[in-house]
Amino acid sequence: MKKLVSVSVFLVLAAACGSEEPTYTTPASGGPPDRGGTVVVGIVSDVQSWNPYLVEDLESEHVLSLLYPSLAVEQTDYHRHPPSFAPSLATSWTWSEDHRVLTLELNPDARWSDGAPITSRDVVFTWRAQTSPEVGWLYGYVKDFIETVEAVDDHTVRATFSHVYPYQLMDLNDGPIIPAHAWSEIPFDAWGDTDWKAHALSGGPFSLSDHTPQQEIVLTRNPSYFRAPLPHLGRVVFRISPSADGLLTQLLAGEIDFLQSVPPDRLDRVASRDDLEMVIYDNRSYTHICWKTDSGPMADPAVRNALTTAIDRQKIIDVVYAGFGRIAVGPVLSPFWAFNRELRPLPFDPGAARAALEAAGWTDSDGDGFVDRNGQTLSIEILAPAENELRQDIALLVEGDLEQVGVRVEPRFVEWGTLMAILDAGEADAVVNMWEEPTQIDLEGLWHSPAPGEPTFNFGRYANPEVDELLREVAELTNFAEQKPLLDRIQALIVADQPYTFLVENTRITVHSALIDGAEINAATPFFNIDEWTVDDAAGR
């Protein structure tokens, strides 16, 4: 691949308070872009199916989003309010007076790649598939509050909701539109046994041209795509390689042009290359330590607060994340509209931590360097996944910090499946974990007190009756502005309780060839504006 003489590394960090749009654009070169060229994208796993309602992972969804159109496109303005939507297949929409009925107008020029028009029949068929028990779409629960989706005419669709709530359009828009004329002949109960590659059609910017399982997916520009102008790129090729290090090597060797995520500890391999560009942005996730709150020493919020105060979170960012990221505050990410802007991270203050432990009854009575109470040393086993070096490094740094205040820490690195079994049983003292947050604010799953015997992600078994009550009240409100004070209060309670030590709001580092211009990349999808990408196809692919 040709080396560019001078292309600067392009770094963008989101502002700490989220006052700027968390979408970033690489600088576009001057002059009209050429049509054509190939971009090779590295991915770690193959698509699970060419039917979007049979896939369960995010990577498959990203690839399929280039084939199957959405009614609307979620925007990245979630820092001011729940995300808004831009028209896509639906060119406009109107709400009924009681805000329960949504009427959408579809683009009359939209066509599938076989020439058939994309109509309201496709939208209705999609909703039936999404809610069909035979199909069993894993995320079908998002349609629970949609009573009906009807075709008013060929290009008008009407959706009726059971009640008013802030995420109605988001829920309706969730899941791409699929071709009724081609797929309705296959009964829903036979979808699981169908080879969908043979039935793949496109209504999106690219069409499926070739797929070699576990090796390569070749998409070519869809000439019947309804949005003008057509994509500049002629082809997007996905090269599949299960090893993240392997993908990075391929990027350095010029075999791939675009890698969505490079671990910060590997950045030194990229930084010296002037033919590669880095884009660094919020990836809507936070790393934390989840404490066991239902029994043992960490059942006391004062102890948990002391532990957080004793952990140098900025050092974690500097050492583990090469300086990328910011200290996390609470259960809502700071760029989100719902974030309580009154809250601040607890300070790093080992002296105060030691004093707080002493106030809670934990002192070094036997002079062994570790605090104890009633003859029992304050000793914590911190778990981290054996497959994740970053989280292991965090556990080791935390061990050093906590031992400074007299807390004995035993890091243990366990295989992912084993770790999940321990977490499910609620038996972990502490675990270094990460949550990726959807833009729909839902604190119920992590913070409501767990029901006995029910599956839960509340691994630390946190329970606060006031939080439970506030969560119930939030669910009943129809307006996000009304929800905001209650969400603020919930966050304040959780931050005061410190069931987690909120460590780092993470960033993602995408690296791509400097030959690619105009790529807008955000946490929701690496292909947000792929129709506008251009490439100087010097490799002649």
């Binding site: 990577e59 070739d210 090597t249 391929q250 992912w416 499946g417």
Partner: protein, 323 residues
């Protein structure tokens, strides 16, 4: 001999059942399920439980075992949780690349190994023997992932002679037949060398020792006394009997042709059985893990049988004891 072979083949059935059952117990005892490995921010605890129910992972282990055994008996290996395709089709897709890579590596292993051993045995403790022993021991002692990483660094990144991964170039389906073949061979060289040369080092050491043993036999002395040339003594009278253990080694290496190398296939993103097994194990894709395990067991048992048959064919003295 035919009756003996048939008897050994029939013995495969209980052996495969035993191995499959042990493998099922190990897989079932491993904590975590496919649902734990699904990466999606929208997945709630309830959806995770639903996913387990969909794939029958919420059933008691004995019921899962009986269902799987029943399917195995009818030749149905189930459907992959991850790729949603029948496991038989998945194996049919991943076996050819593994056989190609394994075959190329075995060829390199034995051809290079035999040549090195013969060259070293001609002048025991000479300079070539010492240098080849040193390099051979070094190669045999290197972990394959390290050797593969080094090979990629030198030959793909620095020199740019070979591709760093995959079985073909980007969108190679547009190439002509000969160009596609050349492209495939270009991608094959580095992984095959990483696998084959390590094996060749071991084969060379093994064969060299056998050659030197044979070299001390009285019939070799007699041949020398009859005035036969050194070359003839080495290639005809020494190498042929010395190859017997190598043939056994070859038979025992045959399972490798279908089980693949997990490390090399993963490092080079080679779409074979080994890579599939690793991905399936990470994703707790039980049908695929079980199918590959059973396939490996069958291959080991068949390989052992083939080794015995070959040994019996080459050396009639071993017929009774090996079969």
């Amino acid at each position: 001999m035919v009756r003996t072979v048939v008897r050994r083949l029939l013995l495969l059935i209980p052996m495969v059942w035993l191995v499959a059952t042990l493998a099922f117990v190990v897989v079932a005892a491993a904590p975590g399920t496919y649902a734990d490995t699904v990466d999606h921010p929208g997945l709630s605890a309830e959806q995770r439980a639903e996913l387990e129910a969909r794939y029958g992972l919420d059933q008691p282990v004995h019921r899962q075992y009986l269902r799987w055994l029943g399917s195995l008996a009818t030749g149905d290996l189930g459907v992959s949780f991850v790729t949603k395709e029948p496991v038989l089709r998945l194996l049919a897709r991943t076996l050819p690349p593994t056989i190609l890579l394994g075959g190329a590596a075995l060829l390199l292993d034995f051809v290079v190994g035999i040549l090195l051993a013969v060259a070293a045995a001609r002048r025991p403790h000479g300079w070539f023997d010492r240098v080849s022993s040193f390099i051979g021991l070094g190669l045999a002692g290197l972990p394959s992932f390290w050797l593969a990483g080094l090979a990629i660094l030198v030959f793909a990144l620095v020199l740019g002679w070979f591709p760093a991964s995959h079985m073909r170039s980007v969108a190679a389906s547009g190439l002509s037949g000969p160009a596609r073949l050349a492209d495939l061979l270009h991608h094959l060289i580095l992984p095959a060398c990483c696998l084959g040369l390590v094996g060749a080092a071991g084969t060379a050491r093994y064969l060299r020792a056998t050659l030197l043993d044979v070299h001390g036999e009285r019939y070799i002395l007699a041949a020398r006394a009859r005035g036969l040339s050194d070359r003839r003594i080495l290639w005809i009278h020494t190498l042929r009997p010395a190859l017997l253990p190598v043939i056994t080694l070859l038979g025992l290496s045959l399972p490798f042709l279908v089980s693949g190398s997990v490390v090399i296939e993963t490092v080079f993103a080679w779409p074979g059985v080994g890579l599939t097994l690793l991905s399936a194990a990470h994703a707790r894709d039980i049908p695929v893990v079980m199918a590959v395990t059973v396939l490996g067991a069958v291959a080991v048992l068949l390989g052992s049988l083939v080794a015995d048959v070959l040994a019996a064919v080459v050396d009639p003295r071993t017929r009774e004891e090996s079969l």
